[in-house]
């Protein structure tokens, strides 16, 4: 499928998703109950609704909202009284930076150690690496996060407990976020590499006199990358939704936390803006993954 059609389809799904979010969030209830004092009069509520446009039929609200989007206006946060998109765009880079660093480390580590494990299946290296990656993939991240804070911040006082700041602030959240992707990807790399290393073309490479390192990292690895890229894409998408738990434990003002708060407060404009931002990011990611497939495996390139 070419890029043009792909982008077109992406836009379609965005509009669909957007409509869904718009209507569903309005099903959650009337925001005036959360914004006005509990004992506010019915008139006051009606006045609030009128001011926010909530008294209109939902479909009218939707179209007027779409119209304002076309003018670049994504609505205003009820709580913070500033453009919802600003809030989303402030929080998103925080999340993005965190997961970019974590996933890069996880990916590189998984490739290296997955390959090492696959060279001698059931060898010592393999057993050790499998143990670590399995433990990493299985450990619940909130628990690991809390334990790490207890040990390294509270007891040993080596690292800050939470917040944004210099490199020291990155160590614990990144470590927690690396664990699971590293474990999962490591297993996938190992499995794919074991299979690829038994392929006939590996025999050909050896018969050509190619050095073993090159056989593993050049001839086999690129062939083993497709499933790895698929899983890596899935992991990235799930983290883009917000590494909420880790963000919460370490007090990072990422997009996941913003979204959850907005939902709890029925701050519709912010819900819509954050979902739009992550949806665009995830759809862009999917396009990148498709391109990566084509780059990795010429058989998947379309003429």
């Amino acid at each position: 499928m070419n890029l043009f059609r792909r982008t077109l389809l992406t836009l379609f799904s965005l509009v669909g998703l957007f409509a869904l979010v718009f209507f569903l969030s309005r099903v959650t209830g009337d925001p005036s109950y959360l914004f006005l004092p509990v004992d506010a009069s019915a008139e006051a509520r009606a006045a609030f609704s009128r001011a926010q446009g909530f008294d209109q039929p939902v479909s009218i609200q939707f179209f007027s909202y779409l119209k304002s989007i076309l003018n670049g206006d994504f609505g205003t946060s009820l709580r913070q009284q500033r453009p919802a998109m600003d809030i989303a765009l402030e929080a998103f880079p925080v999340t993005l930076r965190l997961i970019a660093v974590s996933l890069s480390i996880a990916f590189a580590g998984a490739l290296l150690f997955g390959c090492l494990a696959a060279i001698r299946p059931r060898g010592i290296a393999d057993r050790l690496i499998s143990l670590v990656s399995l433990a990493g993939a299985s450990a619940p991240d909130f628990w690991v996060a809390i334990m790490l804070v207890l040990v390294f911040s509270v007891k040993l006082d080596l690292l800050p407990t939470s917040g944004l700041g210099g490199p020291a602030y990155w160590v614990l959240p990144v470590f927690v976020l690396v664990l699971r992707p590293f474990g999962l990807l490591g297993q996938v790399v190992r499995g794919a590499m074991i299979q690829t290393l038994s392929a006939p073309f590996i025999k050909t490479a050896r018969a050509k006199g190619v050095a073993e390192q090159r056989v593993v990292f050049v001839h086999a690895l690129r062939n083993a990358m497709l499933p790895v890229v698929t899983v890596a894409g899935d992991l990235t998408a799930s983290l883009l939704n917000g590494a909420v738990i880790v963000e919460t434990v370490f007090g990072w003002p990422g997009i996941g936390g913003v979204m959850i708060n907005a939902i709890l407060q029925r701050d519709f404009a912010v819900i819509q803006a954050t979902i739009l931002v992550t949806a665009v990011a995830i759809l862009a990611l999917n396009i990148v993954i498709d391109l990566a497939y084509g780059w990795l495996d010429p058989r998947l390139r379309t003429a």
């Binding site: 050909t204 050896r206 006199g209 190619v210 495996d297 010429p298 058989r299």
Partner: protein
């Protein structure tokens, strides 16, 4: 050999560590080959030919394999005790190898040019691009500059093997080991590849060790032959000598399998009055290929105007090379694909306009046996489950309590033991699996079995056994077959009628005897010439 051997193997013993202990794969194997000479190692799968070649090439999987004893020398230098790094310098430079399946033997994600140039780069340094293009031209790839950057899937099977040969010859090796180099190719292409190897050998004076199970290939290529069986060499010498006076029973059996295949078939129709079972008229099938945006896709005609009829109790051979449309034909005849035009009548009823009831009967009475006995049986099912599945689908054949006996009966019918019911496909050899596949096809009591290359993946002796089994079943059960194959000699013993297909058309059709005696179409003649034995060999075989 009087002139000095360039490659010499002595007293080789190789064993594998398996779950049940150490198994010897190869024992006391020795051979040598001189410059400019071709040594053929002949034997069936599992005889140890490929293992021996892997040891020479230092690509044996260790573990589970180990070389227990023996010597391999190249120009007098010992190869087995060498430092890995030095040893690597020999692979691809002084000894090179080509393999059976050129598609899976080429790395799918790198361009073929890069893969050829890599050999030069690894052994000599530098780019290798110029040499790669020169080699591609030499092995007969047209327009090598453009094709340098293309990928293996963009080439045909024959071209891929040419590319493998170019890669092997990049450093002008002293010895080329060719492990079943033409087995995966069509017969006419087979011949071209063998001719190319010959030519290149004359040019470079390299020694060739050719591993094959195919007597015709051996006869065409060999200066000398070594026959292997169960990991040992049972016979060696000049091929004419070996063929005319085989000493070992296995060699005799191998030679004997040929006349058995070519023997005139037993009269198929004895007393049964001819009744048309299947009538095909003007059948065509087009496939639409998706086009680029704003451009119409292309249409490929896989079948064009196919007409024939099959009488009950007879066998029709459908012969053609890959891409000739024979597998598409099988799919349409099984009702798996809608034809684009024409009609198929089964027992007088139009196949693609059947009532559900008739369709059910059709699926019960027409069965299929596939090429790959490893892929077509579910590895996780027991043989009993596999054989009973058709009975579970067609509920009215037998009550459930009789299934087990029926399964046992079917196994006996195809020459296997009833004790095998609880086993799984993995525990059987290729020939046994194909017997199971036949038994499965028989389970629903069919009248017609379509065999799509059903014996192509098997060793010659096993081929002959399966053909015999099919012939016997036809007699006792009154079956009809449509036997699809690329291998003309195979159908000779079985088919009453043959149609030869090329590019989706029937180019020739007729009685088996007549077609073999006087093929009318040039393509049929080409097929016959390519798959047949050289005259002297045919003569030897005839006298057996």
């Amino acid at each position: 050999m009087s002139n000095a051997a360039v490659l010499n193997v002595e007293g080789l013993k190789v064993s594998f560590l398996t779950e049940t202990g150490r198994v010897t794969a190869v024992e006391e194997v020795g051979f040598s080959v001189a410059r400019g000479e071709t040594l053929v190692i002949l034997g069936e799968s599992g005889s140890g030919k490929s293992v021996s070649a892997s040891v020479v090439m230092d690509i044996l999987e260790c573990p589970p394999g180990t070389v227990d004893s023996g010597r391999v020398t190249l120009d007098g230098t010992d190869l087995l005790g060498m430092e890995p790094k030095t040893r690597r310098g020999i692979n691809g430079a002084r000894i090179a190898m080509i393999f059976q399946d050129p598609l899976s033997s080429l790395n799918p994600v790198y361009s073929i040019g890069t893969q050829i140039a890599e050999v030069v780069n690894v052994h000599q340094g530098g780019d290798g691009r110029v040499r790669a293009i020169e080699l591609l031209g030499r092995v007969g790839i047209p327009d090598p500059e453009t094709r340098f950057g293309q990928y293996p899937h963009q080439f045909s099977g024959g071209q891929r093997q040419r590319i493998m040969i170019a890669m092997a010859l990049a450093m002008k090796p002293d010895v080329l080991i060719a492990d079943e180099p033409t087995t995966a190719l069509d017969v006419t292409v087979q011949r071209q590849i063998l001719d190319l190897l010959r030519e290149l050998q004359d040019e470079t004076g390299m020694a060739i060790v050719l591993i094959t199970h195919d007597l015709a290939v051996a006869a065409r290529m060999a200066d000398r032959v070594v026959v292997m069986k169960d990991g040992r060499i049972v016979e060696s010498g000049d091929l004419p000598t070996v063929a005319s006076a085989p000493k070992h029973p296995y060699t005799r059996a191998l030679l004997g399998a040929i006349p058995r295949l070519e023997q005139a078939r037993q009269a198929a129709l004895s007393g049964v009055e001819a009744k048309v079972l299947l009538r095909v008229e003007g059948l065509s099938k087009d496939y639409d290929l998706p086009g680029a945006p704003f451009r119409a896709g292309r249409t490929v005609a896989a079948l064009r105007d196919i007409s024939f009829s099959l009488d009950a109790g007879t066998t029709l051979g459908v012969v053609g090379e890959s891409g000739s449309g024979k597998s598409t034909l099988a799919r349409v005849l099984m009702g798996l694909d809608q034809p684009s035009g024409g009609t198929v009548q089964y027992d007088g009823i139009e196949l693609f306009d059947m009532s559900p009831r008739d369709r059910r009967r059709f699926h019960r009475e027409v069965q299929m046996v596939f090429q790959d006995p490893f892929g077509s049986l579910n590895p996780r099912m027991t043989i009993e489950d596999i054989l009973c599945e058709p009975l579970a689908i067609q509920k009215d054949i037998l009550p459930r309590r009789a299934w087990r006996d029926r399964a046992a009966e079917l196994l006996e019918l195809v020459g296997l033991q009833t004790g095998h019911l609880a086993r799984r496909p993995g525990q059987f050899s290729g020939g046994q699996r194909q017997r199971i596949a036949v038994a499965r096809a028989l389970a629903s009591q069919p009248r017609l079995i379509i065999c799509d290359e059903a014996v192509s993946a098997l060793d010659v002796q096993i081929q002959a056994q399966i053909i015999e089994l099919l012939a016997g079943l036809r007699q006792s059960l009154g079956l009809s077959y449509i036997f699809i194959t690329h291998d003309l000699p195979v159908v000779r013993s079985l088919a009453d009628q043959i149609i030869v297909m090329n590019q989706g058309r029937i180019v020739e059709a007729g009685e088996t005897g007549g077609l073999f005696a006087s093929p009318a179409h040039p393509y049929t003649r080409e097929l016959l010439a390519a798959s047949g034995l050289p005259d002297w060999m045919a003569e030897v075989v005839r006298q057996l």
